[in-house]
């Protein structure tokens, strides 16, 4: 267990006044985007990313990941107080959180949510600590065919396990792959799919796509639904916090079950949204207080919150160790890694131990800081939501426009983001999942490179993907997952489909 030595080293990197300040800033910004409608973890991180280009990579990733945790927490605040999920992954928290708040138990609901979320996140980080180095060492044996198989596995598990319509998931993925090929080809230097437009030479940045799809698209959806805030009292009573904390151990079984679901869904690209729904569903079926679910049952808050956060954190495991992100937000972070000049994947552990273990250590710190901060700032952020939408909505749009511009200092990108906004709106209305699109845009080049290198190795024969046990197993798993919707329909072992991971 040399990893604990590395973790200790990580703490020496992460534990400084500067980094703690960055964590606090990141968490607060994260809560803000988590609370605001139309802004969420994926595009919050996207908007912040261009500002980190000049930062040291360790500090940059700590800032972005802290923002991610903050956003996950912020999403729960609005779910409980306003019955409006600030994040898709906190939808399941509204089912019992809001009824609790309406009964005057807002503090208890919030404290229960935050503490179980914090514990869930810690489970996720511990899993990363234990497994990341081991998986990375294993992945060092991979060459191009194995990497292509891993990417294919990630894509296929979205299609097979994502829960949305498999055809729509597949076309969303493929469209992302197509957009990823626009611009200069890294291997041959040829210009692809630019059709003579100079603005397309740089390619289409996934950051611009995320800002449009998640930011502007989400906002159009909000406008169409005529969002009205019906908030309950957001006063926090300190005594209630400790009562809730004392009651938490009662839910240990729910907690363990939810954490396992969360970690599993985080590592496989199911994402936090699917994890929280699944955990809530299972809790409603098997929980001790299942009869009370939906009527303000704390157990119904513990289940989705624990799973949501353990999925959110463990989504970083495949990103770090394999270079395959487990959620839309971690896909954006991985894109950031590449922009900072780091290569995500197994080599990262040997070449950049400071970065990897600094990040992992910071995850312990930032989640603890986040629990305290989010409790302390509930009244502040609740009051932000009371600002009329006519003021906050247009400002969010301006933030998106500026964010799109800062990606490459190009006005064309702003127009592109606006266009992606319409696409995002239509996709969301028609239940096309967006996370696979983002994942494909981030992984597209790497997947294509791995594919082309494999083809060169084998002189154009697809048999290379069956040439040894490892790659054959990975390919077999990928194909199994791809066909899973068909298989499960034939056997109908899987009852109602899992909710989607559209934006997890």
């Amino acid at each position: 267990m040399a990893d604990f030595g590395m973790l200790f080293h990580g703490f020496t990197v992460a534990f400084s006044f500067y980094h703690v300040a960055i964590i606090v800033l990141g968490v607060l910004l994260g809560i803000l985007v988590g609370v605001l409608p139309g802004l969420g973890a994926p595009n919050g991180v996207t908007l912040l990313l261009p500002l980190t280009f000049t930062m040291d990579p360790v500090s940059a990733i700590i800032l972005l990941s802290s923002m991610y945790w903050g956003a996950l927490f912020g999403g729960s605040t609005t779910s409980i107080l306003f019955n409006i999920p600030g994040e898709p992954s906190s939808v399941a928290t509204t089912f019992d959180g809001y009824p609790m708040a309406k009964q005057g138990r807002a503090t208890e609901a919030l404290a229960t949510a935050f503490f179980s979320a914090g514990l869930g996140a810690l489970v996720g980080v511990i899993v990363i600590t234990l497994l990341a180095g081991w998986i990375a060492a294993f992945a060092l044996r991979f060459s191009s065919p194995e990497f292509f198989a891993i990417y294919l596995l990630a894509f296929c598990s979205f299609i097979g396990l994502g829960g949305a319509d498999p055809m729509k998931t597949a076309i969303s993925l493929l469209t992302g792959l197509a957009f990823a090929t626009v611009g200069m080809d890294t291997v041959s230097g040829d210009l692809r799919l630019t059709f003579g437009y100079a603005d397309l030479l740089r390619g289409v940045s996934f950051l611009v796509a995320v800002i449009g799809l998640f930011g502007i698209g989400e906002l159009l959806l909000t406008v169409q639904e005529e969002l009205k805030f019906r908030g309950v009292s957001s006063r926090i009573e300190v005594r209630e916090i400790f009562t809730a904390l004392a009651r938490l151990p009662r839910y240990w079984a729910t907690f363990i079950r939810s954490a396992i679901i969360g970690v599993w869904m985080g590592i496989t690209p199911g994402g936090p949204t699917a994890a929280s729904f699944m955990s809530y569903g299972i809790g409603r079926r098997f929980g001790r207080n299942r009869a009370n679910f939906g009527r303000g049952e704390p157990e119904g808050v513990v289940a989705p919150e624990t799973a949501d956060h353990s999925a959110g954190t463990s989504a970083l495991l495949p990103m770090l160790a394999l270079g395959v992100p487990g959620s839309a937000t971690s896909a954006v972070m991985m894109g950031g890694l590449m922009i900072w000049g780091l290569q995500p994947g197994p080599l990262l552990f040997t070449e950049q131990p400071d970065f990897v273990w600094g990040l992992i250590a910071s995850m312990y710190m930032s989640n603890i800081i986040a629990v305290i901060l989010v409790l302390a700032t509930v009244p502040l952020f609740a009051s932000i939501l009371r600002i009329p939408f006519a003021i906050i909505g247009p400002i969010i749009i301006v933030v998106c426009l500026i964010g799109a511009y800062t990606v490459a200092n190009a006005t064309f990108d702003v127009w592109l983001a606006v266009a992606f906004g319409i696409v995002g709106y239509v996709f969301k209305r028609l239940d096309y999942p967006i996370a696979p699109f983002v994942l494909a845009m981030v992984l597209g080049d790497k997947a294509e490179d791995a594919f082309r290198q494999s083809m060169i190795l084998s002189d154009g024969s697809l048999s290379i993907f069956w040439s040894n046990n490892l790659v054959a197993t990975l390919m077999g798993l990928a194909i199994l997952l791809l066909l899973w919707p068909l298989i499960s329909r034939v056997f109908s072992v899987w009852q109602p489909k899992e909710p989607d991971s559209a934006a997890g």
Partner: protein, 179 residues
């Protein structure tokens, strides 16, 4: 009347068209084998092909699907529209006034984005904010103006001064002496 079915079929066909564009574009790079391995269009061509096939398949499926989807499916597939699952495919895609509400946000956004090369980000944003706050929230001009200008001054401070990231100034701002 625009129904959900129209939108489903239209989106499927639009995606298929996009796939066709990818197909056409990739043929310009060569889709076969070269001396150094697969040509640049090899991968995009196959992706484009799959998109065309899937897009057409989606369009056909939704054109033919005469039944209602099970409510549970739709509610599960998109948590943000739990009620939609109970409506048939041939229900209206946009309720009364929804198109107007969307347009009232989207059109000003598009206009503001289009004006950036001339007015720059800051000025275009100020005008967009004032316009939106007055039309969406019926704020008086002085209040909308105060909030808008205050917001953009704050952004100016954050980007130009703190992070040293210059944003587009357009043609007009430099004339006013702001660079």
């Amino acid at each position: 009347m625009l129904t959900r079915r129209h939108m489903e079929v239209g989106t499927g066909l639009a995606l298929a068209l996009l796939g066709a564009v990818v197909l056409y574009g990739s043929t310009e790079n060569g889709i076969g084998w070269t001396d150094v391995g697969p040509a640049a269009g090899y991968f995009p061509f196959r992706i484009g092909l799959l998109i065309v096939v899937l897009g057409v398949a989606i369009a056909i499926r939704y054109a033919l699907a005469g039944r209602m989807r099970r409510p549970a499916d739709v509610a599960a597939a998109d948590p943000s529209h739990p009620t939609e699952g109970f409506a048939a495919f041939d229900s209206r895609f946009l309720e009364d006034g929804a198109l107007g509400r969307i347009a009232s946000v989207f059109l000003p956004t598009a206009v503001a984005a289009a004006l950036i090369p001339w007015l720059g980000l800051y000025l275009a944003s100020v005008l967009f904010l004032i316009f939106s706050m007055m039309t969406l929230g019926k704020l008086p001009l002085w209040k909308a103006g105060l909030i808008s200008v205050g917001t953009m001054v704050a952004f100016y401070a954050i980007f130009e001064i703190w992070f040293q990231v210059p944003l587009e100034k357009g043609v007009v701002l430099p004339l006013l002496g702001i660079n």
